[in-house]
Structures are given as structure tokens and as C-alpha cells.
Symmetry: C2
Subunit: 418 residues, 2 copies
């Protein structure tokens, strides 16, 4: 992603469909103060803490597994129908630390491998690289995960003496594809995981941002066999600047002495050697936001959800206007039902060189799908992110993108104009 | 350390000389709000940011290397006489993440090993375990580091086909010993590091807490050959609840393509896969505190320094009263010139079993030195931490400790009473 950051710095006036950052229009630093005070009140009134305990909780070193675990459990019950033991929750420095902790715990030696639905979020491949854990790609296919391929990859790995430990995926409005697994696929996936003895690492940063109001149950809420390690993030639903994520790891595991405990406690031990504990001040900000909204993140994000849905509609309308069927541009795209991303297929190589041309000559940035894996067709695919742009930027950005396409496809394609 | 935490929970009324946590008497949650506002003002007035930029800096995803690097550079110039390029600073989630990043960068394969002055802070051995990097112990000896042993350990490792990459130490008021390297030893250590081609990982959480006002130059300030990677922490001088540390890594290093850059940029790449970035909100709290004190942490910590110095005096006086020379108790101790810790030598095994007895029957907690390494004599050594206790607790705690000693040493030692 360094290439993307560099190019964004070099062309600051380009319209950027690249970053998967949340909308900034409702940012308000005053709320941070309100949230901190709200969390202090909770410590006093709900937890019965005296002033010294309140100060110690916010300002001193703290519990390795975190201090907002009970509020997260409330939120999961309310928003997800997931009943999680607060002791099974580890509050982390963003979801990225949760991924690292989980992979580090699952990796005992060089035989342990991770499966990941591909194209995959770069954060998981990065974390896997840090713990020296190879990643075997499982194609997403038309259903969001190719279940036959999943079983095949796991079995082939076992035949080679490897130990496939888990499969990572984003079932809701995935990054980078924007697609979601339907309910039947979710249920089947849980069965395949059971049969192949795999954990599922369910990453859900975008699930609240449904564009049409429909929300499918998370894998974790369908999970009766503790197959799912649930990776949560408040970067999109809370505040990115707090850097608070978490992991629900309610799997029973034995330690070296054979004592059975929660996977969460193994993650906690690793965390004590990695970051000691997550800033209680940063946790308090998220805790305060949860409390301010009755731990209901769906209602807390109504305005944002509307913005993203509106942007998605505008982007889809713009693509349809610039590249109508039969116009010969060869440009097609998927139609996600929510989230931050969609994918455009183009009839030419969409690589770093083209991105450079696009930025320099046309003033528009996007992400080559190649950055997310080696899957078929990725060379001619582009991820467009619509979370951080305004409607006006979407219009201008698409016009510029259409000009890039016209230049590549050739003058013959006259319809690529609005 | 889990055993210590467990025993502290089981005996909440015990006086505890165990935790190395900073004094809580000056904690004030109101200051957090002041610091946040102070940092906002800095962004507006010194950096020239408009309101949208201020909001984005605090609330959005941010720069991987952090946003308080320039203030840290000012502080290092002012308090340490260290001129650090802000680009060589990576702001981390506590010093623990800085250690992890550094070791992960230094560890290319299983031949890379870390040297550490022993007894050593458990954080460094934990981080080394996480990156699968063996730790070779270098005895502290009477000077704080045994320089001949350091060279010998490094050479022996090389003869065995290993690559000793760095030596970790706390030159000022070390954890767990409380001792400091004198100036001559610091200079010689730098020469040995040069000769043996080792980096020095200088960890300095306690340097500001000199009990007699004397402050020796850090290794980094004496380092002309970029041998020192400087590990900084605001947990004791700032606010533990912010979880902000940093590393100055100004060493030139080549990446895989042979391009030379700063070690800090390699650490930044690793950080992007570990925690993405350190909470800008938490950084802003520390940034605000730095600004509120003109980036001078010595003056910012005058009150705390006085508390720690007073506690050290009281502890030393109490030890002298309880265990006067020639009384036959066999109890001796070192006399640190600052910091949080001192070490007591006892004429019996100071292990987990004795700690259990001490907590249950005598109501006093301490840390067996065995937790910090395998060095000679550690079996009969105890770390007493005096940072979190009140003077009254020191008195009561020492009385209880003297009762434990009397029981162990035998009735014959009548002088072990105040």
C-alpha cells in the first residue's frame, strides 16, 4: 500500500477512490470529551467505582483484556444476537492487533497455515507475514467463498503435512470485493469448517452499512460449535482515531500444562508481550460512544449508513451513465448491497503503471485489485472505494475515470461520455 | 507475572512492593481534557491546520509513525541533548510495541539472537519470545553491565554460527536492579558495541526520577556512531493510560531492493501490519502534556520525582532500622540513586512458595528476582518497588517483611524489630 500512499501524496488534487477510510463529515472533537465523561459516569454509577478507582481505571496501566468488554458484550447481544461471555473478549489496538494475536496463537510451528478467501484484505496477509504463517488462497467465487475449493485447499494442505488452522473472511460487504455471503452459504460454510476442523476468522468492519436495510446474521450468531473467532472493529462504527478493535475468542483451549481455558486468555498472554494493554483512555472514548447510544451501533451509525448508501447509488448510476450496456467499453462492475467498496472490470491491465497515468493525466486514484491477491482476472480489476468521497467528487472522479477508459479502449468507444 | 497478579487479587489487603506502576496521587482526569485542547491549539496555531485538518488528525486513521514525533524530538533535544530527526521516531503503543517492532526488524531468521543485561525486564524477554529470538544473558555485574562478558557472549554466539544483533539494557535506575551505569562504563559500552558490531537497545523509562538530582547522559546522547536504538516511554513521565511510547531508530538500513532508508521506516512497515497506527487521540493527550510543560519532562515530573525520592529514603531508612549491620539477619540491599526499585538479598530462598507465605501470613507482596533471569544469587533476592506505595504503607510493609524474615531466619535474630 506504500505505492498508493506515495501516489496520493504526489497528486493531492486527484479525486481518490482509493482509501477505505470512513466518512469525515460528522467528525466532532467535542464529542470525544462528552464520551470520556459519559464513560466516567458509567464507572461511578453502574460499576460503583469511587473517584480514585475512576481515575485509576482511566489513567493507570490496566486490565490486559480491556475495560469496555462488558459494553462490547451488550452491543453484540443487541446488534448481533450474539451472547458473548465478556471474559471471552479481548479489546485490541484496532482490529489489526486482534488479527495478529489470533494468528500468533494459532501458529505453533512452520506447519501451521492460514486459509484466506481471496482477494483478501491486506491486513490479514500482513499479520500472517509477521508471524511467518503462509496464507493459502481460497477463491471467493460467485458466492463470496468457494466452499468446494475451501475443502480442497484444506485437504491438499493436510496431505502435504501442513496444518490448516483457520480460514479468514469478511462475510459482509467484503474488502475488497464489496460482496456478501447469502444465508445458505453462511450455514454451509459453518458445516464445512466443522467437517474440515477449521476455525473461521470472521472480520466484520462493514456489516452495519447495509445500503438496502437488509442485514444477514453474522457467522458468529449462527455458530453453535465455537468455530468462529469474531474480529470486531470500531474504526468505522466508532471513531478511527481511538484505534479500538476486539476479538471474541470463546474457544476452549489447553495450555502447555494441559489446563483448559479460553482462547481469549491465550491472546491476552500474547498481548501482554506486545502492547501490554490497550489505552484505557482510547477505550473510554469508544465506551462512552457505546453508552451514548445504548450500545446500539446500528442507530449510532444511521447518518453514516445513509451517506454510504447514497454514495453507492450515485456511483452505480454514474457507472451506468458512463458505460451503458452495449457501448463497447468493455467495462462492467458488481453491485454490492452495502459497505465501502465495489469492483470494476476493465478490458486492459489495471496495474501500478496505469494508476500512475490515471493520477498524473486524469486526476483520479483507485486501487488495483492485484494488491489483494493473485486470483483470476485481478489484473484487469479495480477497487473503487466510495466511503470518503462526496457526491460531487464521485461525479468528477467518474468523468475522469471514463476519460482514462476512453483513452485505453480507443477512440472508437464514443459512448463513454456522460 | 500472572502468578503475581493472581496473588495480588487473592490478598487485596496486603501491602504490595510488587508493581512497577507510577504514583497515582496526582492523577486528574480533568487534565486529559486540557491536554487534548492544548494539542488541538498546537495543530491550529503551530501547524497552521484548519478545523477539518484538526478533526482529521485527531479522529481519522493517521500517519503510521505517529503525530507527536516533532514534540518528542523537541523533548529529546531539551531534556537529553539528543538531536533526533523527527522522521527517525516511531510513536508506539507503549514502549512494549517499540521493543517488539525493533526485535521483529532485527530478526531475519533463527540465527539472529538478542543479548540482554541480566537480570532483565520481563517485557524484553516476552517480546523476544514472540518473535522467536533467543535471548543470551549478559551479567549486570557491579558496574551495571559486565563488558568483558558482553564481548565474550557475543563472540561465543558468533562462533556457534549465531548472529548477535543487539544488547538490551536499562542504563538508568534499571528494572529490576535499580542500578545505573556510571559515565565511564557508558563510554566503554559504546566502544564494545562498536567493536563487536552490536546495536544497543537503550530503554529509559526511569531516567527522570533521580533521587539526588544527578542525571547522567543517556547512551543515545553519547552515541556518535548510530549504535543506539533509543526506547522511550511516557508511561511513567506522561500518563500510563495513554499507552504511548516511542523508538528513535536513526540507523541507515537497506531494504530488500537495496535502497537505503532509516530503520524507523522498517519499523513503520512492521507497525502497519501490527497496529496500523497508534491512537492519535492517545497521542494528543501526551502531546498536550508535552506542550503544557514546554516539552520539558524533567520539570513536568518534579512532584513525582520528589515522591519517589522520598519513598526511596523512607525504604532505605526502614531497612536500616529493621536490619542493622551485625544483627545477624543476613539481610542486605543495594542503594539505588533513583528510579522505582531496589533489591534485597536474603539468606533463604525467595521463591513463589515464600511469596505465597508472605502474602497469606504476613500481608506483604514483593517480586522474586528469579522472575527476571537465571543470574547467580537471584534465588535469594527480592525486588522491592516503591513507586506506588505511600510512606505509611512502606512502614507497615517493612514491618511485615521483617516479621517474615524473622520467621525464616529464626528466633535467634532479635534485632529484626524496629
Amino acid at each position: 500500500m506504500n505505492f498508493l500512499n506515495e501516489i496520493a501524496l504526489r497528486f493531492p488534487d486527484a479525486v481518490s477512490f482509493a482509501p477505505g477510510r470512513p466518512y469525515e463529515g460528522f467528525f466532532d472533537t467535542g464529542l470525544v470529551h462528552d464520551y470520556l465523561r459519559r464513560f466516567e459516569r458509567y464507572l461511578r454509577e453502574e460499576k460503583g467505582f469511587d473517584e480514585a478507582q475512576v481515575r485509576r481505571t482511566l489513567l493507570q496501566y490496566g486490565r490486559t483484556k480491556g475495560i469496555v468488554h462488558e459494553l462490547i458484550a451488550r452491543h453484540l447481544e443487541l446488534d448481533e444476537g450474539v451472547t458473548a461471555d465478556p471474559e471471552s473478549i479481548v479489546v485490541t489496538v484496532g482490529c489489526q492487533e486482534a488479527m495478529f494475536l489470533t494468528l500468533r496463537a494459532l501458529r505453533a510451528d512452520e506447519r501451521d497455515v492460514l486459509l484466506a478467501v481471496s482477494p483478501a484484505y491486506v491486513g490479514i496477509t500482513g499479520a500472517a507475514r509477521l508471524v511467518d504463517m503462509p496464507v493459502l488462497e481460497v477463491p471467493a467465487g460467485p458466492r463470496g467463498v468457494d466452499l468446494e475449493a475451501l475443502a480442497r485447499v484444506a485437504r491438499t494442505a493436510r496431505e502435504q503435512g501442513l496444518r490448516p488452522r483457520a480460514c479468514y473472511l469478511v462475510p459482509d460487504f467484503s474488502n475488497p470485493l464489496g460482496t456478501s455471503l447469502d444465508l445458505a452459504t453462511r450455514r454451509e460454510l459453518l458445516k464445512v469448517a466443522e467437517r474440515e476442523d477449521l476455525l473461521l476468522l470472521e472480520d466484520n468492519p462493514y456489516g452495519y452499512f447495509s445500503a438496502d436495510g437488509e442485514r444477514l446474521p453474522t457467522l458468529k450468531s449462527l455458530d453453535t460449535g465455537r468455530r468462529v473467532v469474531y474480529l470486531g472493529s470500531f474504526a468505522k462504527t466508532g471513531l478511527p482515531g481511538a484505534r479500538i478493535g476486539y476479538v471474541v475468542a470463546d474457544q476452549p483451549v489447553a495450555d502447555r500444562e494441559g489446563r483448559v481455558g479460553l482462547l481469549a486468555d491465550q491472546l491476552s498472554k500474547i498481548k501482554s508481550m506486545l502492547t501490554v494493554n490497550t489505552s484505557p483512555l482510547a477505550q473510554a472514548v469508544i465506551g462512552g460512544k457505546l453508552l451514548a447510544h445504548g450500545c446500539d451501533l446500528r442507530s449510532a451509525n444511521e447518518r453514516e449508513t445513509e451517506v454510504y448508501a447514497g454514495n453507492l447509488r450515485r456511483l452505480l448510476e454514474g457507472l451506468a451513465r458512463h458505460f451503458p450496456p452495449g457501448c463497447g467499453s468493455g467495462v462492467t462492475w458488481n453491485v454490492p448491497r452495502g459497505g465501502f467498496f465495489l469492483v470494476v472490470n476493465v478490458p486492459f491491465a489495471a496495474d501500478e503503471a496505469l494508476l500512475e497515468v490515471s493520477a498524473r493525466d486524469h486526476g483520479v486514484l483507485w486501487t488495483p485489485m492485484r494488491f489483494f491477491g493473485r486470483g483470476d482476472g485481478a489484473d484487469r480489476q479495480i477497487r473503487l472505494s466510495y466511503s470518503l468521497v462526496t457526491p460531487a467528487q464521485i461525479d468528477v472522479g467518474l468523468e475522469r475515470f471514463a476519460a482514462l477508459v476512453a483513452r485505453r479502449v480507443g477512440e472508437g468507444v464514443a459512448c463513454a461520455a456522460p
